[in-house]
Symmetry: C2
Subunit: 587 residues, 2 copies
């Protein structure tokens, strides 16, 4: 396999052998290592010295299931620190199938506002991938749902697409990298941290992959790999949360709306309450029942990417049974719903689709809209007003630019004091005052406020791997640390994070993950060594952040969470600075 | 003397004795000590836990000359660190005359967008100041030139006024604290770092002082004080830069336009060149000659505050001889002129006046406009466009809010990579690539990019205290360190920083400053001990900043200055990180 380096200054491409120290890495482990090694920590995130790195997981592209994840890394224009965001897509499988272990985008065109695409195919004669650049001007300034079909039309139906929307072209702090889903929609996002803007700053609109004829991903020990794959699949097919017609397949991630509301930890109206009185109207159950009513039959969820067993992506339909959005995920549903005081699924689904169309991260968009509502730009609960503000982001108006800059920056510009963000990045759908462990993850993660960085919700709310009291601060620093390290490995493996529910409860599933990786790489990793490897990845990320100016002072939740008690539990975030500092201090 | 604590949560006021450790401090030394001691470093700058501290200099309010300075301190909404900004005004004298050594504004009203004033008079019967609150609603949302006269009308002609403009009401990162000049204009600013927003966040519009009948500032050793005062005055009256009809009195600070342009260090069009082809049209000489032509006679400059010998404030008149602006200072002239590619004094003066009217810092405004022009919001050189953008700031439109947020934030929101700012604060009128020492001051100052924090321009450009090559990096860290420490003391003494020209060249002037302070306080300070005291103040400020999350990584100039050579010298900023870190490392 190769590293493919693409230089956008002169639009050149170069294949390099994979250095030994990177051979056993993939996904986040690889993107974070390359960023830490090669990007000057104090460079401007939108300047020529930042790099945008794509790397699929270790097992991605093999027959492993629920494992089509690609990580994207760089210095974040949103947090000012290192960033990894990942997505599930056929693109994730096609990149390593083409022999590309990492794609590193470097440089910047001299011309302003010129956009290019890259088309990568397999050159059978040469026995290596072939890289061609094309002018992408015709696809810019447009709704992604409108231009994705044109790319398929031009390059064929078998391609996979990565790209950025207008949010990336505008260089917003809120801008994701979009990937195609299984129905060719621009709906799968490496959403967080503004990596779309890094792509936009490099004048790169599309990376189109066609893996036809490519050799695929080599597997060193096929028997071991198959053994691991079977253990993993059995775990996924058994666990109540991940099994077919289980929690996620039936109600989608939005099954969490009622659960979090019940726990008093569903952030409502810009984190001013932990309960939303219209929660039931936007919950996963309401989506399932609403679809049944509108379609006349039960609808179970679909996979975001090939080979997934869990299949958690829902679709929401209008009264005529026409699709409004293919993916009203919990986070999106919450961000654009409860956090904005909006209880109307049709409006929420429309907003999700608009975010996808413009290249925005739904979590950041909703967290920012909450701040805008707090500032009085539009009132809480004003769905047409909120929809209009997303359109402003899509148009790049001054208000659109303010909101597109992300939660921290928008709060600053709008003069708001209740800004639910860490390191500039808006908080996801769990209230730290009601679920203490996740607050520690938000505070200390190298990524800014990010639930996926150490999802302590599993034990604190869902009882996965034992139940812990969400309101108690006891032992939560250690819990977050363990989850952050394990997660860093899962993000490296190529598995979707949702395997965690199954493998934390079912020991053979965890073994299966390790065996899959050992099978592919020929390594001898153990359960312990993969957690250690996760910790090493975190340390690299943290060292980059320190050099970029992020300190202990940035590993804190915003002041209001320590001073304003949250209804209904009327608790503040009471984790000590010492405990917060121990997360990485004792790593 | 007392500390006056005003709590805006319940609009109460309290006089306290001055604790022993603060008795020999004043100005910046006092505001920074109180902020470092009492403000939580991680508080939101616009929240109830920040404090706004006013303290006049040690000798302010005595007959000392060129010494009517008041420092304002708090946690800055612009830099996120500690902030001290000072201004010259009769207000500076009236505060200590009323027996108030420091005025500390605390808390925050529960009601949003309510504004109050404070009226402080001398209660002869009680032998202490009397503090009354009044509703200030009628003065909000208005041009300061329109409402200042109403305050004089209400409280009498003998008052002094401190306040904030709409910029502070809107809580902009660019918002100063305004003070009256000698002709009752709202034109003297503690401008930098957004302290107007801190005042606005506390619902405080005005602090009106009437010192009638007050006891004045006590002087422990009158003879020593008089001896020092005479030495200082002799130095000021002798030095070519500060003497009557000398450089500053004739051409104002804008005398520097031609000098800096000649040195290739006049930042032009958002720091893309060090030479401005229209520099001569906006230079101090052009102001002097233009006024002579329009008025039919020579016009020398006036004092910003009572008792000043230097008298450097110019006035610019229109063709009909009517005043456009009372103070086209070098920094303002450059910021709104050369930095925006604008060579028209009438337009520049109009912009200066608009900034004063809205409560904006002219340096920050011009640095931000340069970034906006780089982003293409309006073209470089478009004076009507620039004027309109200042009006947008005054109106609080979305674009106005973006620009009002200051240079760093506006650059972020507009997606610009050439952002001339340190710690978010826009750079003043000296190009670090052409004058290396001032670049070190910008990088390392506790205040963000601030020329007044360590004005190495004196030796590097003006040959004051010996001439040093501006382009050479040699010895500049030590130079900046010495200037920063001495400056911290001058800002504590109450003298205007412009005494530095005279006292650095004339040893008896320096002695005079020390003797004035010893005379007032009864201390035995020496030349060495005041520099040491300055260093102690810097250390306190820096410790606050570290706790607030500002690290070595924030003591750097923006990346572009290290990678893009600046015409005409085609140099980059080549001071090593080690040298930068030695400024405070060896303090």
């Amino acid at each position: 396999m190769w590293f493919l380096r693409v230089n956008m200054t002169d639009r050149s491409a170069k294949l390099e052998g994979v250095p030994a120290q990177y051979k056993n890495l993939g996904g986040r482990g690889l993107t974070s290592s390359l960023v830490a090694e090669e990007v000057p920590p104090l460079c401007h995130p939108l300047g020529p010295n930042n790099k945008l790195v794509f790397a699929s997981g270790i097992i991605t592209g093999t027959p492993a299931n629920t494992a089509a994840r690609v990580s994207v890394g760089g210095k974040s224009p949103l947090t000012g620190g290192i960033k990894e965001a990942n997505a599930g897509s056929s693109w994730a499988q096609d990149l390593p199938s083409l022999g590309i272990k990492a794609l590193v985008v470097e440089g910047q065109p001299k011309e302003k506002d010129k956009f290019w695409g890259i088309h990568i195919t397999w050159d059978a004669a040469a026995g290596k991938p072939k890289i061609e650049f094309f002018d992408a001007a015709e696809y810019t300034g447009a709704n992604l749902y409108a231009v994705f079909p044109k790319v398929y039309e031009r390059f064929g139906e078998k391609i996979s697409i990565a790209g950025c929307g207008v949010a990336g072209e505008f260089k917003y702090g809120n801008s994701g990298i979009v990937f195609n889903d299984m129905s060719k929609r621009p709906s799968r996002y490496a959403g967080r941290g503004g990596l779309g803007a890094v792509m936009g700053s490099k004048g790169l609109k599309w990376i189109v992959l066609n893996e036809k004829g490519s050799p695929g991903v080599p597997i060193v020990d096929k028997a071991l790999f198959e053994q691991g794959r079977k253990k993993m699949n059995d775990a996924l097919r058994t666990h109540d949360i991940t099994k077919p017609k289980g929690g996620l397949n039936t109600y989608g991630t939005a099954v969490l709306i009622n659960i979090m509301n019940e726990a008093g930890g569903l952030p409502t109206r810009n984190f001013s309450s932990g309960r939303f009185e219209q929660a039931a109207q936007i919950a996963g159950e309401a989506i399932f029942e609403g679809n049944k009513k509108r379609l006349g039959q039960e609808l179970y969820n679909h996979a975001c990417s090939p080979g997934c067993i869990i299949q958690c992506s829902n679709t929401w339909h209008d009264e005529q049974g026409k699709e409004i959005s293919s993916c009203v995920e919990y986070e999106s549903d919450w961000a654009l719903g409860a956090n904005c005081g909006i209880g109307d699924l049709d409006a929420i689904a429309e907003m999700v689709d608009l975010c996808n169309a413009y290249g925005l991260d739904t979590i950041e968009a909703g967290a920012t809209l909450g701040v805008a509502m707090e500032a009085g730009v539009v009132p809480f609960g004003d769905a047409p007003g909120a929809i209009n503000l997303i359109h402003e982001m899509g148009k790049g108006t001054p208000m659109g630019r303010i909101l597109g800059a992300g939660t921290g920056a928008a709060g600053l510009v709008l003069g708001v004091t209740r800004i639910p963000a860490v390191k500039g990045q808006g908080m996801p759908a769990y209230e730290p005052r009601a679920v203490k462990g996740i607050g520690i993850t938000y505070a200390t993660s190298t990524m800014g406020a990010d639930h996926t960085a150490g999802y302590t919700i599993a034990p604190e709310i869902l009882g996965v791997s034992g139940k812990q009291d969400p309101l108690s601060p006891e032992g939560k620093a250690a819990l977050s640390r363990a989850f952050q390290a394990t997660t860093a490995f899962i993000d490296t493996s190529g598995h979707c994070l949702f395997i965690a529910f199954a493998i934390l409860d079912i020991a053979s599933g965890f073994e299966g993950m390790v065996e899959e990786c050992n099978g592919v790489l020929g390594t001898n990793w153990t359960n312990d060594s993969i957690v250690k490897l996760g910790g090493e990845i975190l340390k690299k990320e943290r060292a980059f952040n320190e050099a970029a100016g992020l300190t202990k002072a940035h590993d804190r939740l915003p002041e209001f969470m320590q001073t304003q008690p949250l209804p209904p539990h009327n608790q503040v975030f009471d984790i000590s600075d010492t405990a917060l500092d121990s997360v990485y201090g004792e790593l």
